[in-house]
Structure formats: C-alpha cells, structure tokens
Amino acid sequence: MRQVISGNEATSLAVKLARVAAISAYPITPQTTISEKLSEICGSGELNAKFVKVESEHSAMATLIGAASTGVRTFTATSAQGLALMHELLFWASGARLPIVLVDVNRAMAAPWTIWCDQTDSLAQRDTGWLQFYCWSNQEIFDSIICSFKIAEELLVPCMVCYDGFFSSHTYEAVDVAGQSEVDRFLPPRKAEYFLDTKNPQTFSGGTLPGYFMEFRYKLQQAFDRAHGVIDRTYGEFAEQFGRKYDNIESYFTDDAEAVLVASGSAASTALHTVRKLRLDGKKVGLLRIRQLRPFPEQALIDALKPGQQLGVLDRNLSPGTGGVFTQEIRAALGRQGKNQPVYEFVAGLGGRDITENDIKTIFAMLGNGQGDLTQINWVGLKT
C-alpha cells in the first residue's frame, strides 16, 4: 500500500514488518522519531518485540549483542555522537559475527555542537566490520532495511543503513509499504546456527591467543568478499518479488558523458536533478550514485566508468588531513585496478549546509573547464 511517510517512519515500518524481536535505543536527533514510533508499535503489541530504553548508545549496542547472541533478530537506530559512543561495540558485533541491523541517520560530529547532516559519523566507522548502505529516498530506506536483515543474516555480518538527517529522515515521500505476508515470504525468521542455547552450552568471544586471532579476521574478510555475490542475489530476489531493482552503483546518463560526478545520499538526488537540467542545455554530464561503502563496490565502479571521462566525487564528509572519504576510497580502488584516472575531490554541505543545484553546476563547470585542482580538496560553497 502506498503511504506518504517520512524517512524515519519508513524505517519503523520496515523494522515492524521484519518482525524484529529485540530493539534497544537511546534518543538522539534526528533519529529519535524512529525509537518513538517503535516504542509505540511495541507497546501496543503491534510488534511482538522487547524494547529496552537504555541509558546510552553504548548500552543499546551491548543489549543487542546480548539479544542477538540468543539467535533473535535485533535492531537499533542512532546518529552522530551516539554512533561514536557505540564504536567499541561495533567492532564487537562484527567480530562476534552478529547480524545486527542499525540505522544511522547521518548527522555531523561535534564539536562545535550541531544536529545537522553530514556523513562523517558513519564513514568514520568504516573499519569496524559493518556492511554500509547509503539511501537517497524513503522507498529505498524501507527496501534496504528489509534486504539488510536477509544479507546480514546470511553473511553473519552486521549491517548499517545510512541516510541523511532531516533531508531524508524528516521529509515525506510516497512509499510503497509491502504487506506482512509479502515481507514474510521474502524474509523468513532468523535461523541462527550458533547461539546461546541452554541445551547445548557454548561460550562466545573468549580470550584468543595470537595462534587464532588472525584467522578470525581472515574469516570476516572472506565474508565481506562473499558479500558482493550475496548482495547482488538478494537484490535480484527483491526485484523479482517487489519490482524494484537496486545496484550498489547506479549510473545515470554516463554512457556518453564527458564529465561524471559520483555522489551519495540525498545530495545525489539534487545532483541527478541538475544533471537532467544540464542535459537539456546539451551538456554531456552524468551521475554515478554510490549506495554501498562496505564492501566497497570496486568492480561495479570500474565497470561503470568509461575511458577519458572527467571524474569528480562529491563528499559530504571530511577526514581531516586527507579529505573526502568517498574520494579516497575511489582513488584507492582505481589504483588497485591499475587505472590511472584522475579524480577531482569536492567537499560540500558539511554540518547541514545545503548542496544546491548551483553548487552542482559549479562542480560540473570546474570539471568541464579544467578549473578544478587535482592536488587538493575543491571546497564548494565555502565562505572565505
């Protein structure tokens, strides 16, 4: 049934339909309305789940690690400072191979205090061993959460679904909300092979000597290698049942494009809108929307690029001392594949500043006339 709902409502509905059994969360803007809606759904009995309103995000993740270890499906949502506070336990969740699903509503990291959007919070967690997806529409948020449980549970790897604070979380869009029986058919109950079981006592995550630790990490890396295939297959099954197809990199107008911009999150939709307008003026520009950071979709990226295209990356995040995280990831991938492709780096929209049509036009103009600087960050919309 089509409903006009916010990004956060799309999350709550997807979590309900996924029949999550344990939820734990701590309020933080702009995530809070997710936990509020879920408390209501759990309190009314619409969803038969335990919701623990813990005293911090660190406790929220700890609670879920406990719950997931008993073999049930678990969920939490957070933003920025909350995600950072979970950092220690994010490693624990992936190391213990628990398929927890977390929504991060992207918000810039303090100091100075801010509640507005950028993606530095989740990108800073890229080494914690979580799958990471970035959404641009409320429909995609809903669909990604349903798919994430399936992917995470097959791989035994936790999964983070990210979308932009306010731009997506609080914006209303039409979403096709699947019925319970349809979701049940796509996403059967979690079947854990290893879990805390009184009939078959086991201990997890105990002290590990150097003789074995590395093998644990090797296995986790293997799961991420396998993830490419599992994700593709899951998206295929999803498309077959629901009629909506996702790819980890999506190409728009790139076939004959001379300049291509890579973007993610809500900024990608502004970029697409701008690309369409520029096309009407006869400009040969295109967009690559990147939906996935971990595992990094290296092959899909290479396949999507044509030789000789001017390539720019729009980063709504900053890793001080190097630059935008997506840029660094893309440069590394191209380098690994032996491609000598120059990549222009554009940092914009930090701390909730709007990324406008004009900003995107400025970027394409710089890409087109060689004004961009390859050796440093090109800041967009910076007050000087």
């Binding site: 809070t32 936990s35 309190g43 309103k53």
Partner: protein, 277 residues
C-alpha cells in the same frame, strides 16, 4: 523568558544570548535565577568560576552567563569538571546538568565524583524526562509516567537522585523544587561553600514535554503537584515510622551535610608528602 532583577541581570547574564530557548513555564529559569542569587550571596568572583554542562535544555544554562563555560558532550560534564578542578583547584566549578544527562548517560561519572568527593557543585534540573530531544523516558520518569518512548506508561523504577548521591558518598545533598526558590538558593549557596562534592537536585517543570503528557501543561501545575507530593524533611522526621512508610511523598530539604576529606586537597597533600621526601 524569566526576568531576574536588574542587578543580577547586568552582573551575570550574557546580554547577546537572550532571549533564551526555554519554553514558557519551564523550570530551568527558576533554577538559574536561584543559582545566580546564590552566587551573588556568596560573593563569588565570577571570573574565577567555571560553569560546566553536558547536553540537554538544562545544560544550556552556562551559555547564557557572562562567565567561562565549558559546554561538553552528553553526560560527561562531571568528568570534564573533575579535570578542570584538578588542573586548577583555585577555581570554583559549578556543573549544570539534567536528569538524563547526569543520571542516564553520565550516571557513572556522577557516582564516582561523589565517591571521590571532588569539590564540585552539581545542580541537576530533574524534569523527569529527556526534554531537549522531545519527551523521552529518563531514569527519573515516575512509574506510569507517559512519554514518547513510554506511551502506555513507564514500567521502570526511577532513581532517587539525592539518595544515590548520599549512597555514593557526596558531602552535601539537598533536594528542592522550583516551588521553593528561596530554599533552593540557600542550598546552592551552601553547596558552593562546601569543600567537597555538593549535589542540589531541583524538581522542575517541563511543561512542553513531561508536563504536557502528564496533566501538568502549565508551569503552575507542576508547582501545585510539588505542593501535594513533597514533604519537608523536618516534618517528615516528626512522623511515626508507619506514617513515614505510608505517606508516599518526596522528601525535600537538606538531606546531608557532612565534612569529609576532599579529593584535590588529599591529592595535593600526597604529592607534597612525597615531594618533601
């Protein structure tokens, strides 16, 4: 916006920051008023005073004061304040915090600073909910209290923050409500003068949040609620044991005032001793 007298306003408030973000009828203004009057009474040198706060509506207070302020991360104000006090024991350090900030996410810092008896004055605005994020259940939400995350009533037992402070070893503990601003001011004054960990809990209205959901939509409703649901410590002590057990009221007043070795002083003594040797 609350209006303190001209003298207090001119002496302590950061003109440019006003009007405040506080909602109409919010209890935080009264607590701030009482704090400034206490500071004035003590005759504190405001230039030798640091205000430290975490995150929440109550933690916004230092931003409105014409004094040094350290606005920190959610829940960690007392840890930051301990650092300030240790590095410069000459300074007076006052922490402004909320029930969520101090007893939820920052609960550990609270009990450990009380245990160590660090010379801080901690003023906690207890409005029974996370006000700033929009009325979620907090560690002091009463059983049955309605919030956005307990829409069918809270089932968890709340903390008695003052009892927690006493249990953890604080040197000075008082609990008042915005209904009693004068007594609150006296308690804050004594807290500032106390050499050691002083904790002043202030029951306060959050009409926009907890109040709206629990039949206390206006600031005055909370005042009346306090009048009915609190009992002064001396009156309480005159009750028989049976009456005490059945009265079901919150005991307010000065709940503890003892002398005990203070952390920074003890630390300096230790350093001096070993340095002398």
């Amino acid at each position: 916006m609350f209006r303190p007298s001209k003298h207090i306003r001119e002496k302590y408030l950061e003109e440019e920051m006003w009007p405040s973000i506080f909602c109409q009828g919010c209890g935080i203004g009264t607590v701030m008023n009482a704090t400034l009057r206490a500071i004035d009474k003590v005759g504190l040198d405001i230039d030798q005073t640091i205000f430290v706060s975490g995150i929440g509506c109550s933690s916004r207070v230092p931003g409105y004061l014409d004094a040094d302020g350290l606005h920190t991360t959610h829940g960690r104000a007392i840890a930051f304040a301990t650092g300030v006090k240790l590095a410069n024991p000459e300074l007076t350090v006052i922490v402004f915090t909320g029930d969520g900030d101090m007893a939820g996410i920052g609960g550990n810092h609270f009990i450990h600073a009380a245990r160590r008896n660090v010379d801080l004055t901690v003023i906690c605005v207890n409005n029974y909910n996370y006000g700033m994020t929009g009325t979620q259940v907090s560690p002091t939400t009463p059983v049955g209290g309605i919030t956005m995350t307990s829409p069918y009533g809270n089932v968890e037992s709340p903390f008695d923050l003052s009892a927690l402070a006493i249990g953890a070893g604080a040197a000075y503990v008082a609990k008042w409500a915005t209904m009693y601003p004068h007594e609150m001011m006296t308690a804050i004054k004594k807290g500032i003068e106390k050499k050691g960990f002083a904790f002043i809990e202030t029951l306060a209205a959050c009409p926009t949040g907890y109040g709206r959901k629990n039949k206390m939509k206006e600031g005055k409703d909370h005042m009346l609620w306090c009048k009915e649901n609190t009992i002064g410590k001396s009156r309480y002590e005159r009750l028989s044991e049976q009456e005490q057990n059945s009265c079901g009221k919150i005991v307010i007043g000065e709940l503890r005032n003892i002398e005990k070795p203070e952390f920074t002083a003890e630390w300096s003594k230790l350093v001096e001793q070993h340095y002398m040797e």
